[in-house]
Point group: C3
Chain length 108, copies 3
């Protein structure tokens, strides 16, 4: 009935983070993608089947770490794929400290 | 039983975003309000019946986009209204990329 | 069955915010810790039984208020303690505007 995506701490791996819905329903997704100091702006998209649903940005040039965060409730069909995509910029330090979480709020 | 507010992508409309609770319970609300580059600090309040519950801020002068984010679990009475209010500053680019989400965690 | 941590507005008190799980399950936790203008970087850890699970940072020197935010789904055993720890920096203005929320998504 319920589905959980948990990516904790230093081992966030983008490739492993495609969520495929086992059933139709309303899901809650949220993410915090942390960039380490660099002179770029990042844009992170939450993707549903190759379509960008929401975006988040981190663009401060002067801080060591800054998160691009957002969250959404999403109507997801069975077998839809939901994942994060780094639309702009690079993550030089990798995905350290980043999280991506989703759970079924209720089936439809 | 459940209530969902979904505001996705570019079509966030503040006026349409007053949530009126159909039943008593604990709800989870979260928001990410994105300001586009300007020289102002914004303050966004989550309002419950004209009372500010939590606030979020975005004040960086030097970045293109920055989000004021917060979230809370809230005891909501039947017919309570919950909505976002821009308490300080202006959103020159409108509510693009902003999200406001809420769902019933459990009835009381 | 359900557990709620609500800390609203200006009265966030770190000491009172140790959550002790009444039952085993998957919980959703999220936090937004707001620092007031000062020349420090803060790091906030979400702790599970003295072990840091996720971190968040706020380091901008030039803004009045900035939040260190993150969230996670967590497998929690009965009687586990979950709380926030200010790992680095100080909160000169206290925990004003900060929130820490958690709820049981489903029992395991």
């Amino acid at each position: 009935l319920f589905v959980v995506l948990v990516n904790i701490g230093n081992h966030f791996d983008l490739k492993a983070s495609v969520f495929q819905a086992p059933r139709r329903g309303i899901y809650s997704f949220s993410f915090h993608v942390v960039k380490v100091y660099n002179r770029q702006t990042i844009q992170v998209n939450l993707m549903q089947n190759d379509y960008p649903v929401i975006s988040a940005f981190a663009g401060d040039q002067d801080v060591t770490r800054e998160a691009a965060s957002n969250g959404v409730l999403l109507m997801v069909e069975r077998e839809d794929r939901v994942y994060l995509k780094l639309e702009r910029g690079t993550l030089m330090g990798g995905w350290k400290y980043s999280t991506f979480s989703g759970f079924l709020v209720f089936p439809v």
